[in-house]
């Protein structure tokens, strides 16, 4: 057995024993390495009496058999040092804890052809499980634009926004990765089994907890840190005031990732948390995929032009015609003399200018005089 295999087996064993995101384990592994941490925890004499069952449980594990079983399920275990290891996860070494969780994962269980080191440009699209139709449509559009531009989409395969993000990216060739709070062999929610099977066939399903593990609230919180850490930025599409998506956004902020939020009606609870993120300055407001690209893209590659109403005929006018147009009333029609007085121009100039504006559809003429058309008023 090579040293590397030793490390991998120790990590499998430790991940069976401990909860994901336990910072004590992350620190021990960083200090001692995984094999020595495993040894230490296997030695009853070194442990506090209250923790002796840890040693007993650790001895009962068979990580080599675990890896074999996982391989039969189509899963591989990716650990630091593997060529596929996504090095951006190492940022978790240095970030503060959140909800007493933190640290890089011991390893990641992966099912699917996408290599994790291909996720350097990935973007998370997350949000409320009880999403609105509006939110799911925006999430799908953003995800499709991201993947088309070569940014893998990462989400959590939950109902609502997560599902919409994965589905939005389905039609486009590119990586579309689900990170789960349960084992990567399981389907949670079960209604998403087909979706998860598809992602595992075409891209990747990823988990920190070993195969077979059930999702718990704590595991969701730890999973959120991985979604934030794997990606270059997190887009929150809808999130109520205490939604789990805000937890992902908090992780992204701690990790100096970009945080973006999609606004919605202020009357909708699902947008409250997003508005709060934008209002506080934590998130950049984005309204569509290409605005997300501008935030997460490589410098200078994606510059959106601000949305403009169709360039109006008015823009083609010279300064004198502009001045005449400015002098034509909105409401009651005015005579040429009155327009000339307002514009401070001669009657002749104004009369010929008005005829040009008439041809452009910007003013209209009646027996009572001249006034702006509806088209000129917007």
């Amino acid at each position: 057995m090579t040293a590397s295999d030793d490390d991998r087996l120790a990590r499998v064993a430790l991940s069976r024993l401990t909860e994901p995101g336990d910072p004590r384990i992350a620190i021990a592994v960083a200090e001692l390495g995984a094999p020595r941490t495993r040894e230490f925890l296997s030695d009853e004499r070194q442990l506090d009496p209250s923790a002796r069952d840890v040693a007993t449980r650790l001895k009962g594990l068979d990580p080599a058999a675990d890896l074999e079983r996982a391989a039969r399920l189509g899963l591989r275990y990716v650990v630091p040092g593997d060529p596929e290891w996504p090095s951006q996860l190492d940022d978790l070494h240095h970030s503060e804890l959140l909800d007493q969780r933190g640290g890089p994962p011991l390893g990641l269980w992966v099912k699917g052809p996408t290599r994790l080191d291909q996720l350097a440009r990935s973007v998370a699209v997350v949000g409320s499980r009880s999403a609105t139709t509006y939110g799911t449509e925006v999430a799908a559009e953003i995800a499709a634009v991201l993947v088309r531009a070569g940014h893998p989409v990462v989400s959590g395969a939950a109902f609502g926004i997560d599902q919409a993000a994965h589905r939005g990216a389905l039609g486009v060739e590119g990586a579309n990765v689900a990170v789960l709070a349960c084992g990567a062999d399981r389907a949670y929610p079960t209604a998403h089994r087909d979706l998860l099977d598809h992602l595992a066939r075409t891209s990747a399903v990823v988990a920190e907890v070993p195969p077979g593990c059930a999702p718990t609230r704590g595991r969701f919180l730890s999973r959120n840190r991985l979604i934030a850490a794997l990606t270059r930025g997190t887009v929150v599409v809808e999130a109520a005031a205490r939604s789990g998506a805000l937890n992902t956004a908090s992780w992204a902020l701690r990790l100096n990732r970009m945080v973006m939020g999609v606004p919605g009606p202020v009357s909708q609870a699902q947008s409250e948390g997003v508005h709060q993120l934008i209002r506080s300055g934590a998130a950049t407001l984005v309204t569509r995929g290409d605005e997300v690209l501008e935030v997460v893209g490589d410098v200078g590659t994606h510059l959106t032009s601000p949305p403009r109403a169709e360039a109006r005929r008015r823009d083609a006018l010279g300064p004198r015609e502009q001045r005449i147009l400015d002098a034509v009333p909105f409401a009651r029609p005015a005579g040429v003399d009155s327009v000339a007085t307002t514009a401070g121009l001669s009657l002749v100039e104004v009369a010929s200018g008005l005829r040009r504006l008439l041809r452009l559809g910007l003013v209209e003429s009646s027996p009572q005089g001249w006034r702006l058309t509806a088209a000129a008023q917007e």
Copy 2:
């Protein structure tokens, strides 16, 4: 005639002769004073031949008669130096031009009991004429909260958001001021005659152009600078990509006033301009009246707490119960032993903890084991 009367009459005459926001007049008046500017423009010999008609027109004016006619209509002319002069308008002396417009007004025609020097804490609520029901509801709520908190509301009496802001503030005692692009004696749009009459009776209708003048596009642009300059901040509720409300926001930015924007669905054209303002960092996102108060209020007087979902039962749990709850699966039920392993606690502790969580409605028990309730999952 006192020097002050002389100044007032000169301003009336100049305002009849020139368009509002003409920076050349503002500069001349600032340098020479209004009476000497009037004299200068009345002297044909001093003017370029092309401007000789200015002198002729100026001589034909009778500002004293103008003031008398205005007084009969219930209008007064407020000029710099009057006790009622809103000194915040003097900021216009120093601001850059926008659309070749700028400078403080020569004076303001006012109809109504509200004194203009009471507008130091006022806030503008403006937006699209083609507003949505959503937008008008939010505008009305914000205006009502502002006036109730002692912040006069200023708007432009246009259709849509302006109207909604004025109407929202109607039910509350306090100042509710319309600034028009036409004479303060006129009703534009005519459909708002009753609204404007009401505002003139109970608060104030204000205009830079003399009585009788019609609204023109140029006068709307100049009017927008007054709305921005009179107020402490501008709230844009809805604005399409090139809406006039964005022009008011640009003036507010130039004048170092606060700019706020209400988000809406990204699919709605009426919110596009607002989203752009927020996205660019020009505007702060606000979702309701008390968030506006936080921005425009005196320091420390209005601190909103971020919207929170109702504090959940979970928050009352101790750390050990929290840990047990975190270990209960979402999906398939788990036995007490499995929960205990995940939580890293003894069977006895977990069994008694689960019973407490059951009473709190956070977990449910079945023959298959324990799982989270729907209530615990959000």
